[in-house]
Amino acid sequence: MVRALFPIVFFIVLAGFLYAGLYKDPSLVPSPLIGKPVPTFAASALRDPERLVTNKELLGDYALVNVWATWCVACKQEHAALVYLANEKNIPIYGLNYKDDREAAILWLQQYGDPYVFSVFDDTGRIGIDFGVYGAPETFLIDKQGIIRHKLVGIMTPEIWEAQFVSIMKNQAIASTQ
């Protein structure tokens, strides 16, 4: 009699896990880079090919690194939010122009506005690999020491900014005063 109960018990446990799984996002992969310094790079700036920019230039303040490209439709959707954050929230945003065409990218910034302090031109995607990029747009939050604190895969909005990024910066500020 007890043996005949095994299948149903097994199934109930399984169903519990399946239920829990319904409300989790399986494609949400936490970046292994969180808590690590920004990968080193040295590349030409998008709008000024002569100028060499490196990871050192990102240090000094909380900043965002935004991975974008003109071929990326979702990037166009989030662009206005980035311009808003740069202008209204005074957060420096650095662009990583990922596997893109330089002329098209410059034209895009002229057309839609340029929220970026500068954009790193990563036409081969080599820097993107170091950042663990697997699809544009992605946005990283880095702190004053250049440590990556958060990663957003997908479109940035003012709501996500408040909910995810601001709270992390606040918690960090509280932690550092203690």
């Binding site: 005949a4 299948p7 149903i8 199934f11 109930i12 169903a15 239920y19 829990a20 799984g21 319904l22």
Partner: protein, 662 residues
């Protein structure tokens, strides 16, 4: 208008399903023959109305009625006609309609082919199938209505996912669903047995051909899916241990266990409650597969648009169906007394080990597939489980299974001695062992131990199956000719041998392909030779091609061997007009012993392209093997003792056969 008729027909089908699931059950309970016979009529009516509904949706696709949301999302005026028909099951809503149509078709088939079944059993079986149907019809109507309108109508449709625009995909889902859903019949029989508390060999004879039929469809469906992945994904692989592949493989493993366990229950009246449990499990795993694919709890290339509301619905439905049947099992299963005694060394024991191994294999796949989900639910660090895990756990389980596969068919029921088996099989064992060493060395000049073991196992499976047949033929009287003796082999016995030979052929394909495949992925200039496995590939040119609904770059790859031309392959890189994502269309030349497989990569410059070239020895044997398995399954279901009029006679005569079929 037409879509509304379709939806209305679906609602009528739901009403009929409700009638089918209640009235016959009450009739069986109160022994009212008129009420019981409602089941047959309702099963026919349900099938008819779902068919009408299905035809309405197909019609909407054919005439490109983009005022239907589902059609607008999955079709396009430029889509070729045959893909418009198959686009009906190209996404969640339509494929669900196909699911219910398949279920209704099985119910209808049961109602017409089970003339010999006692009325009350048929009533209960049809009632259970009606209940399943209610669940899926409600699911369709409430969460996934394919007839929802789009207002204003779209001017043009968003086209069928280009990945699905492949001949293999036209028949893969229907076959797979026939298999998945087919296990609902064995499930319904099992529940009916639990309800009445009666499980005799007559019950097994009714339920066995249905389990076999479902298994055949599932085998073919999985094989076609694998064949499609090989053709269409452009990576030369044929099995990826993807969660959805696993979802179809788990019921297959349990179904395989079931058709063997049914043999023991029929012949020896043993394993009764185990057989019932397997019947429940096979269908439960089909439902689990449906849940995994449509709820978005796992990441997979197959996932339909995921939606927690749908996921929750299927989960509740799963909980009701599986929960209630397993509860019923816990309550009633102990009533089934298995009477057939058997020795530690006997055919029964071997089939028991076979079942244990298959179920353990299923559980390892279940754990591997759901492991990311378990970790996530327990908030542990994420990790994914990939092919290395499955290869490492699956292969060691299969080796003893194949060893048993050779011994089981010639072992006697009840009691057999090791010595007897050893005497009969030692030569075959040695020959298989020798072939395992010689074959790969003779063909390729090198081999690892694992390759040799794999080949030996395949040869063992094939040789022992022939031996099992030869033993019957040898027993003929002097007056019977050889040909006549062969034709006298019982059909089910033949089926078993063919299916087992199929396994051997399949293993040969798998082992040779995985051991001796070679490939190159490089950028080549036009005319530059690529050497691979003795063949020379030259990409001579890439030309633009216009398809019905895509633009393609077509590579012209000339293949030569020792300066003799072999074939010209035309791999394509397609960009479909609507969805814009580039698709790789590999070009393959298959022969019995090897495939040459070429896929076009990205353009590096005007006259330099990326090229992926694969040499795949024996890869077609994989699908030939599965085809043989399916043929074996069909033969097994065709045995004349399953035909009502003669069943009595054959039951008594077959016990005289020394070599019995499984």
């Amino acid at each position: 208008m037409i879509p509304e008729i379709g939806q209305f027909a679906l609602i009528i089908a739901l009403c009929l399903a409700i009638a089918q699931s209640t009235i016959p059950l009450w009739g069986a309970h109160t022994n009212n023959i008129n009420w019981m016979s409602v089941g047959r009529t309702a099963a026919f009516g349900q099938f008819l109305f779902i068919l009408v509904s299905y035809i309405c949706l197909t019609y909407s696709f054919v005439v490109s009625d983009f005022s239907v949301l589902y059609v607008a999302g999955n079709s396009n005026t430029n889509l070729p006609f045959y893909y418009k028909i198959s686009a009906v099951w190209g996404a969640h809503e339509g494929s669900l309609l196909l699911w219910v149509l398949t279920l209704a078709a099985w119910g209808f088939a049961v109602s017409i082919f089970s003339k010999s079944l006692p009325e009350d059993i048929l009533a209960r079986v049809l009632a259970v199938m009606g209940m399943i149907s209610i669940g899926f019809l409600l699911f369709t109507l409430l969460t996934s209505n394919p007839f929802d309108r789009l207002f204003p109508a779209a001017v043009e449709g968003r086209d069928l996912n280009p990945l699905l625009q492949d001949p293999g995909l036209i028949i893969h889902p229907p076959l797979l669903y026939m298999g998945y859903v087919g296990f609902s019949v064995a499930f319904a029989f099992a529940v009916a047995a639990l309800l009445t508390g009666k499980l005799d060999s007559a019950w097994v004879r009714w339920s066995r051909p249905w389990a076999n039929a479902a298994w055949v469809f599932l085998t073919l469906g999985i094989a076609l899916g694998s064949w499609w992945a090989y053709q269409e994904l452009g990576w030369g692989g044929w099995w990826f241990w993807d969660p959805v592949e696993n979802a179809s493989f788990m019921p297959w493993l349990v179904g395989t266990a079931l058709i063997h366990s049914l043999a023991v229950t029929e012949k020896r009246s043993a394993f009764k409650s185990w057989t019932v449990l397997l019947s429940i499990m096979a269908f439960s795993l089909s439902l689990l597969g449906t849940f995994l694919v449509r709820s978005g709890v796992l990441v997979s290339v197959h996932s339909f648009a995921s939606d927690p509301a749908r996921g929750l619905y299927i989960l509740i439905f799963l909980a009701i169906v599986v929960g209630s049947s397993l509860s019923l099992y816990a309550w009633r299963a102990t009533q089934f007394k298995s009477t057939g005694n058997f020795d530690v060394v006997s055919k029964e024991t071997m089939l028991l080990i076979n079942n244990v191994l298959l179920i353990v294999a299923m559980l390892t796949i279940l754990i591997g597939t759901l492991y990311p989900l378990f970790l996530d639910a327990l908030s542990l660090p994420k990790l994914s489980v990939g092919p290395p895990y499955f290869d490492a756990v699956f292969v060691p389980l299969m080796l003893p299974l194949i060893l048993l596969m050779g011994i089981g068919p010639i072992a006697k029921w009840r009691k057999v001695t090791f010595k007897e088996l050893f005497d009969k099989l030692k030569f075959i064992f040695l020959i298989a062992f020798a072939l395992g060493i010689i074959l790969p060395l003779a063909i390729y000049g090198n081999a690892t131990i694992m390759t040799m073991i794999g080949i030996a196992a395949a040869c063992w499976a094939i040789l022992t199956s022939f031996y099992a047949l030869a033993r019957i033929v040898k027993k003929r009287d002097a007056s019977t000719s050889l040909f006549k003796a062969i034709s006298k082999i019982p059909v089910a016995m033949m089926g078993m041998a063919v299916a087992h030979i199929g396994i051997g052929v399949f293993i040969l394909g798998v082992v040779f392909t995985s051991s001796f495949s070679t490939e190159k992925e490089i950028a080549v200039k036009f005319g530059e030779p690529v050497e691979l496995a003795g063949y020379t590939f030259r990409l001579q040119n890439v030309t633009p091609v216009k398809g019905p609904n895509y633009d393609a770059a077509r590579g012209h790859v000339y293949v030569t061997k020792n300066d003799e031309p072999v074939v010209v392959l035309y791999p394509e890189k397609r960009v479909y007009e609507v969805q814009r994502n580039p698709m790789t269309e590999a070009s393959i030349q298959s022969t019995a012993f090897r495939d040459l497989y070429v896929a076009l990569g990205e353009a590096v410059s005007q006259n330099e392209w990326g090229l992926r070239v694969y040499y795949r020895p024996f890869v077609q044997w994989i699908w030939m093997g599965t085809l043989l398995m399916a043929i074996g399954g069909i033969l097994g279901a065709m045995d004349k003792r399953y035909r009502p009029q003669k069943s009595k006679v054959t039951v008594s005569s077959k016990s005289s056969l020394v070599v019995d079929k499984i």
